[in-house]
Structure formats: C-alpha cells, structure tokens
C-alpha cells in the first residue's frame, strides 16, 4: 500500500515538474503572435488559441502536485496554532467536503470529456482546434487531485495513530506550529 501512495505522490510531482514548462509554451506562442503580426506582417490565427488551450491544461493539471506540496492555500488563523495531531483530526473531519468537490468534478468531467471524444469536438474558430484533448484532461486532473487527497487522508490517519510519515510517500507534511519570527521583519528564507 505504501508503494501505491509513493507512486501517486511521485507521479504528481513528476507531472508538476513537466507541466511547469507550459508557461514557456504560452510565452513563446504569444510572442510569436506579436512577431508574426509586426515583423512578418501576417497574423497567425492559431497561436493565441493554442496558447489558450495549453493554458487551460496548465491551470488544472497542477492541482494534485499542489496537494502533494501542501500548497492549496487555507486560512491559518486558528488552524495554524494547532498541533499536528489536531490538524490531522480537523482535516479528516472536513475531508468529505474535498471528496464532494473533487469527486463530483471527476464524475461530471468524465461526462464532459467522453461526449467531447464521441463528437471529436472542435472549436468554432476558423482553426477548428480539437477540444477533446483539453477536455479529457479535466477528469484526469480531478483524478490526480483525488488520488493525492486519498494519500493525504491516509497520512492524516497515520498522524493520529502517532506514526511518522515519509515526505516521499505522503507528500509534504504539516508542521506542529508555524514559525513565528521573534522580531518584526525577521523572516526565515
């Protein structure tokens, strides 16, 4: 079982590493748009649309990676002062909310994607870009996030049981208390 968790965490981290390059693709495509319009005098029709499609994937696919890195932002006013165990307990109690959101997204995203694939759906622009590849990644992104969320749930249960969790298996772990700088302005880097 631990190997499965390790595989999921590792998969999400690998995906994050590669997906991060998407910003370079968007950058190059948009810059190409400007260059083609002014230096070549022949505006391209597909660059901006392709950039948008890449952006869509880029924006969702990092959800699981962010979960593995404990990066989804939350309000730590009260939560932040809790011990690791109490954090884990609260997380387990609120986990159904996560499941509702991501599970529904997986289910409905699957519907959305399978219809797009069945129709070989294309955009109504003149380029007629295929939309099904991007749409198919909605359930994929949801699944990646859901899997990482299950790993997190398991790690929270283990915390309650007093077990130590390996970062490489369970992703980044909560700390006991946030670091409070002694003097104003003193920040750990």
């Amino acid at each position: 079982m631990q190997n499965l968790a390790r595989a999921i965490t590792r998969l999400n981290r690998e995906i994050g590493k590669w997906a991060s390059l998407g910003v370079l693709a968007i950058f190059v495509l948009l810059l190409a748009d400007v260059v083609m319009r002014y230096l070549v005098g022949q505006p391209t029709i597909w660059t901006a649309e392709l950039a948008t499609l890449i952006f869509g994937v880029y924006a969702i696919i990092g959800g699981g990676y962010l979960m593995a890195e404990r990066g989804h932002v939350s309000v730590d006013i009260i939560y932040g002062s809790f011990s690791r165990k109490r954090k884990a307990l609260i997380d387990i109690i609120t986990w159904p909310l996560f499941l509702l959101f991501v599970g529904t997204l997986l289910w409905q995203g699957y519907d959305l994607a399978s219809e797009a694939i069945a129709d070989m759906e294309r955009s109504n622009s003149t380029w007629k870009a295929p939309l099904w590849p991007t749409k198919s990644l909605i359930p994929v992104a949801a699944a990646l996030l859901l899997l990482q969320g299950m790993v997190r749930l398991w790690s929270d249960v283990r915390v309650l049981m007093g077990l130590e969790n390996d970062d490489a298996v369970f992703g980044t772990q909560a700390v006991d208390e946030p670091h409070h700088p002694e003097k104003p302005g003193e920040i750990q880097e």
Partner: protein, 314 residues
C-alpha cells in the same frame, strides 16, 4: 403563482439592450398570454454558462431553454453554418428571414438537433458590419488590413486580402484604440455602439459583410412535458417574435448609426467595387466548403442558391 417556471440561459449579457429587447419582451408577453401561468426566469451570459456551453446545458436539461448563435453548433448540425449565415450572400434582412423560416433552413438544422434533444427556433436576423480606423478607398487599402474577426467571417476577410485575427472581446476596445487592429466587427451598428468601437474607429463600412441569426433553443423533453396550451403559447410566440424582432432590429440599427454619426462623428464608407469582387469569389468558396459537409448541408446550399438566383445575385 405561476404553474411553470423555466430558467433561460442567454448568450447576451444581462442589462444589455439585446437581452431586454429579445428575451425580456418574450418573457413578459408569455406571462401575459398564459395569464401568469408560464414564467421565464432570465439569466445573463455567464451566470450558468456562456457561449457554446449553453447548448450542452439545454441539451442535458440543466436549464430547459437558452439562446445561442448557430455558430456554436456547427459540429452538431450540418446546416448550422447556413443558418448562421454565409458572408457575402444575402443583402437584406427579409431574405434571411425568408430562407430561415419559409424555405426551410431552420428545419434542416432541427432535423439533426431534435434527435439530440434540442429544438431550435430562430430569434432574429441581423447584419454584420465592419468598423475601421482608416478609410478604405482601394483594394490596396484593404490588403493586409488588420481586422478583429471570428468564425467564418475570418476566412472570408482573409480570402479577400485582409489580415484578420481573433482577439477576445474583453481586449477588443484596447486593441482597436491602440492600433493592434485597424478594424473589427461586433454585430453591426448596435454592436459597435455597445462595445464603444466607434470611439476608436470612425469609419463604418457598408455594405454588410453578411447577415446572421440568433436563436432560442429549447430542451425537447421539457417542451413535451408542458401542458399543451403553454407549449403552444411558447412556440407561437417565438415564431411571431422572430419576424417582429428582425424588423425592429433593422430600425434600431438605423437609429444607432445615426446616433453614432451625431455623437461620435462616425462616417459611413462603401467598400470599393474591386474589394467586393474579390469578396464575391471568397463567398463562393466558403459556400462550397460548407455544402461539402453532407446531404443536409447540400440542401441548405440549394436554398441559398435558388433564392440568390431568383434575386439576380449571381
């Protein structure tokens, strides 16, 4: 208390004039006709969905009714491109109305849509006209002109020698006023006014590049579940409103253009003959491409060709 309340997801922004004149009027009249038994609850673009996704919402029955541009459903119905309009073909609004309702374009689209669970009813016909920031007096002026465009119109303008490109609506004003593009079309006069395009581009170009249609779509199951008198009231009203709204729209176009000339110093210019000639060829090519989509598309092309030849357009 209304007996039936339907959510209607529009593709126009709420509080815009097209939303009020097209949808609010329909809702008010429907309520009156049914003695308050059938109420439409109207939602502006983006509240549940906007653009092409409205079709899926209606098809699945998330909302029973919506409005769309037929350009959203070109993948779902072969004849949709013809209902949306082939640039450079018809020259008057009545011709489009006639082709859609009396000659059977709408029926051709519905042949495929109804199977998919959706019924389409044309809402209005209206022109597409371009505004540009510098006058066009020759084919050379038109050559390489950077025009913000979308859909089939983009192919059309490109074939005629311009350099069209797509820019999202939210960045259109900025792009036109700074010179990223030299021209754009957003509907015709009413659209140009609503998007403030005339502030940045003073020349309003005639003739219209083409005519297009907006449409109501209704979920077939929801329609069948209605009591017969309510169903009849809705269908009749949509049919009547199409003709009323199409003529009213042309009137409002004229008012909008006059206001633009008055308030923004807009100047109406005519496309030079040589540009129109090139556009004529481009239009034929687009028609041929659309017709090749299948037997229903071919029938739709036949409707166009018959009417145009009767009008002496070829």
């Amino acid at each position: 208390e209304p007996e039936v309340t339907w959510r209607v997801q529009s593709h126009w922004p709420k509080a815009s004039s097209s939303f009020d004149d097209s949808l609010q009027v329909l809702a008010d009249q429907l309520l009156e006709r049914t003695d308050g038994r059938f109420k439409l609850e109207l939602y502006g673009a983006g509240e549940f969905a906007k653009g092409p996704d409205i079709y899926n919402l209606v098809r699945k029955g998330v909302v029973p009714m919506g409005t769309i541009s037929p350009s959203y459903i070109q993948d779902k119905a072969q004849a949709a491109g013809f209902l949306y309009g082939i640039p450079g073909t018809f020259r008057e609004s009545w011709e489009v109305q006639h082709a859609a309702k009396n000659l059977g374009l709408e029926d051709l689209v519905n042949e495929e849509l109804v199977e998919d669970g959706v019924l389409l009813m044309s809402e209005k016909a209206y022109p597409t006209e371009m505004v540009v920031s510098k006058p066009i007096t020759s084919a050379a002026d038109f050559e390489g002109l950077k025009i913000r465009s979308s859909g089939t119109m983009l192919d059309y303008l490109k074939a005629a020698g311009a350099a069209p490109q797509y820019i999202p609506g939210s960045e259109l004003y900025q792009s036109l006023s700074s010179g990223v593009v030299d021209g754009a079309h957003w509907g015709a006069a009413i659209g140009a006014k609503s998007m403030s395009l005339w502030e940045a581009a003073k020349y309003h170009v005639k003739p219209a590049l083409g005519f297009t249609i907006d449409a109501f779509i209704v979920n077939v199951d929801a329609l069948e579940d209605l009591p017969p008198d309510l169903r009849a009231a809705l269908l009749d009203l949509m049919e009547i409103r199409f003709f009323q709204r199409s003529s009213e729209y042309m009137h409002k176009e004229a008012i909008a253009l006059a206001a633009g000339m008055d308030e923004n110093g807009v100047e109406v210019i005519e496309l030079p003959e040589e540009v129109l000639t090139v556009m004529g060829q481009a239009s034929k090519d687009i028609m041929a491409t659309e017709a090749a989509k299948g037997p229903l598309a071919e029938k739709a092309a036949g409707i166009y060709q018959t009417l145009m030849s009767d009008l002496g357009y070829n």
